[in-house]
Symmetry: C2
Subunit: 699 residues, 2 copies
Amino acid sequence: MAPTPSWVKALKPSGPQGHELLKQERAKSNIAVEKLSEFLFTKKVIERKRRVLEILESEETFDKSQNYFAGRIDRFEIALARAKKLRQLKVKHGWTLKEFRAAGELISEPGPYGLHESMFLITLHDQGTPEQHEIFLKKAENYEIIGCYAQTELGHGSNVRGLETTATWNSGDKTFTIHSPHLTASKWWIGSLGLTANYAVVMAQLIIDGKPYGPHPFVVQIRDLETHEPLENVHVGDIGPKFGYNTMDNGFLLFNKVKIPHVNMLAKFSRVDPNTNKYVRPSSPSLVYGTLTWVRSTIVLQAGGVLARGVTIATRYCAIRRQFQDRDAQEWERGENQVLNYTMVQIRLLPLLAATFALHFTGQSMMQLYQESQMKMSRDAGKAGSAQRGAGPEETHSGSDLLADLHATSCGLKSLASSIAAEGLEVCRRACGGHGYSSFSGIGPWYADYLPTTTWEGDNYMLTQQVARYLLKSARSVLKGEMPTNDTTHILSNYLSRADMGAAFDVIGKDEDLVAAFAWRTAYLTFEASKHRDEQKKAWNDLLVDFYRLSKAHSQYLIVKNFYEVLRSSSTTNELDPETLALMHKLFRLYALNTLEQESSEFYTSGATTVRQIVLARTNTVMKLLKEIRPHAVRLVDAWDFPDWQLDSSLGRYDGRVYEDMFHRASELNPLNAITVDPYPDSGVTFKKDESREFKSKL
Amino acid sequence: MAPTPSWVKALKPSGPQGHELLKQERAKSNIAVEKLSEFLFTKKVIERKRRVLEILESEETFDKSQNYFAGRIDRFEIALARAKKLRQLKVKHGWTLKEFRAAGELISEPGPYGLHESMFLITLHDQGTPEQHEIFLKKAENYEIIGCYAQTELGHGSNVRGLETTATWNSGDKTFTIHSPHLTASKWWIGSLGLTANYAVVMAQLIIDGKPYGPHPFVVQIRDLETHEPLENVHVGDIGPKFGYNTMDNGFLLFNKVKIPHVNMLAKFSRVDPNTNKYVRPSSPSLVYGTLTWVRSTIVLQAGGVLARGVTIATRYCAIRRQFQDRDAQEWERGENQVLNYTMVQIRLLPLLAATFALHFTGQSMMQLYQESQMKMSRDAGKAGSAQRGAGPEETHSGSDLLADLHATSCGLKSLASSIAAEGLEVCRRACGGHGYSSFSGIGPWYADYLPTTTWEGDNYMLTQQVARYLLKSARSVLKGEMPTNDTTHILSNYLSRADMGAAFDVIGKDEDLVAAFAWRTAYLTFEASKHRDEQKKAWNDLLVDFYRLSKAHSQYLIVKNFYEVLRSSSTTNELDPETLALMHKLFRLYALNTLEQESSEFYTSGATTVRQIVLARTNTVMKLLKEIRPHAVRLVDAWDFPDWQLDSSLGRYDGRVYEDMFHRASELNPLNAITVDPYPDSGVTFKKDESREFKSKL
């Protein structure tokens, strides 16, 4: 590859320079960026990030410069090397779990130890007995065995009960036989399984004496601890390339009657008694239910940050990119206009900017609620002796009641938040114009890696049925005249009490009315659904589309409500300066009114707003908010505090040196340019010269 | 890599088998698939495809089995080999351009000769003089020189006038100096330039005697014809990896005062007179305008087929995939339900299935209109002597008038159609659940390659301004009382004439009313925009969001209208049997009513429908249509007639052997499985054994 000629090195982008433009942008607003960052994350978390970043940046293993160029095998190998190095660093620096996770976020790629360090360890910990902790968990924690969590099968995703893999109890020798009766029983999509793991927690249908007892977790060794070759009667491998997530070895796994000892069934909740050969029922199935709720709440919280990466990149680049003159510009206004000044760009980016904060606050509230419910649960457990059944105000705010509400809430919000984040990232990518398509934009690869979140931990469409089921149940209770026990039943009974007066919400004038309009629409849709299902006895399947809408409406209400409540809370008003707080209120209004406008048909059919209000919201209020927020856009994304190293984006650089970076990566880091082709069809040669390997090894 | 054990080979998916399910699906409907295919494409085109397919399948170069596994460099090398082989086959078999293009569609990947074979040849042909044809075009047609079309720059996309590359006329030695004054002047995104081309048509600002004359095309040699090394003072290379399109070498290009002779400025329309050193103005700039219209019409036509690939894959797989039981299912209804039976899946897939036909028919109509306008243009040109100015019915249907309408139409439809296709493909991918994320689904890679269509040939957001400008102009003409001259002015004046009576469209009961409601909404939005711009003098920038909506509304009207008119035309009613025709009408209604429901706020604010009609459309009519179309879904996608070889999808196989194919690709074609890792963090080794190269070479 020829070196860059000196005349090229002397070239600069035409002015105004990106760094000048971003400087101007930052001068236009006096948002206290640092203060806002600390409000979002706390000072402690930010300092932790900086500390960890310094260590990572100094390690060659984590050099990102070839990430976008490497093929699957190289990427996987590098990811494995990074996973190992990260473990070494954790030991060396005595990192806490939080520091370790902060490192993972900065590296921002799935790694081959991913499922070992999450689901494998968690499942062994949560579902294993002390004896099993001794045998499996200790070794796993020391990386003497590397594991994964094998649930999904080639033919079975969301429906766990449909799993085909069997674990048959052999009363004779007190063992289980793990078996894959069909090709569709093959475990599939299992992270860390493809090449890395030598152990797996396998979810299999327990069979005792010919009778099925449903899926249970079994610890199974799958590869030799020395040679790492698959054990006999185990067929295991990587499932191949994916839309993203290619640094992870998602795997497949088939068993041909593999025997495992009795102790390998994780037995904290249910087990087989080896003496009686009988099944012992689970003591507390709702604990697992709790874990899923926690995982989904995490997804909601993360969705804000996930989206914020795209919004940061696109906002900065749209402040630097200039295209055309404003059509109404005067002669003397020379030069092209910053793309971010066009309302068509603002309407795409600024509501997403508002959404990043909305999701972040909602996620935080959910995590808090989850912790509260867990605390109440354990307090309730203490009082379990005196517990009594029946509906009554005493029981209503019990931990399990809160948890049921939180479970439904987390389903709907997981679905909505991850959809907003995934689809929002694609909007950000396109808002960058042509360059958004380059891997160097940093959005495409990030989007591709994030997409599975819309499917895992409950498919985003499937999940909405759980929300509808919960809301229907709540509607029944309210219709029976039971007292409201939580926010959901509260908004439903409030709606009922006003049903013959209708609503009159000043959605443009008053923020609390805006929230109330979202509550009204949810309640309206809930009672509509209840009418269809409970009165008209419509088929469940015929209502799925309505249920999806209902869940979305409910989750939108929750986001709007949380955003509003966070802004009103005393901790917020104390921590944020008045100007930042006022701007946050504008972001709240933009998010809420833009959502209202997008879902306008449900707002007016429910009578929550008039048609005129919606038209005014769109043509006046939203457009005005865009104008008011625009000058602060760059500082607002700065508050998300992503280090350049984490974003790994030419377009999203903090310093605005966008074109220099694009050019550097293309011209100087791109191994394809170490190849000289033969361009003629009949030559019989494709590459005249291929120095790409030498080039890469020199980097 | 260990061979697949015999016990694995013996495994089958659990029943019912995919091939049985698809057989049942095909038995449920009696749509005449072959007949419908011929109606869509003509028998001739289908036979051509089969003929070409047979040749391609027999050539090892086109073997697709490693496509999803190969890294960028390998993929590019294979794509180059394929491009060369394709050229050889064209010569060998004496293929027509149509046969050649059919081959390209079957191969379905962008290739390194792509821009040579399109824009380079077209530009030389259309914008070169006979002398230039002799010098450049002939060599290009014989692949003695390989070219590209270098317009876009690092800092300049849509705005061609902002290009920075200069071509300065040297009156002394009668040459031009091509120069890149800044880094942002670097040509960027140029297909076939990165590694392959040795010539480029460079769009550069013509400068004569210090005065700029705007961008013009110059033929510039960039690489040595023997060594293929860049010429002196030329810096050229590949711009790096992208979200998709990685078989193409999109390139960058910088010039340091490179001199080219006078003959290298393409001079059919405008030129520099070498004797007087004066600029000679273009004779007919509107011809280029015509080419763009043609390109955009092609994009509309292709959008149907592009989307149909995703819909075919998702529909077949959703007929095979089973998850959960229907909640209302009876005890005796054993087994899991086909995913395609869930209304939540139907509402995502079936309107897209309807859209494939809608877009196909609309594209066909546009191509036809384009040809008509071209014919009229040349007839008009013959009568040019007697032409007269002024508004009158005689002039109204002139070729240029038609072309102006078609130009605006093509802008709006290009934007809408490519957005529908791109976003629809992602919907199809997700409808496949987890497996949609696997590259073997065939949707992800196809989507990633298609995405640039939303940006090139006019960014999908930018373009809508042109539609708005045209509609505003039409509104002014109608408001002035001028006679309607085409469909656009016709629907506008029809709206005006009924403005004080309002509308009463029976959108659910009558198909022609459904079309009229779409026209009404377009006219309403046009006059609203006209009020804002012309009366209230609102800033152009403040109206961009409204313009975007207006363009979308207008294009949706055109699609609905075209779909309807095609179904009513005598050629359709003659060619299709009554049952298929009736089903097509249902697809029309599903497409129109589903669109109406999604855009409902504009329909009721315009008074085109009542709120009640929209609620009924959603809850009754659309749901009923889904039920009625559902049994025919598999046969309808069959009519799109995609060979398996073209789809290259495990999930979309015609024979339904989905799981066998997924497993085969993962377990037997995946080179990552020829690697054995060392799983322990402290071992200092990542791969114990790497036989991936040997594995690939054996394939």
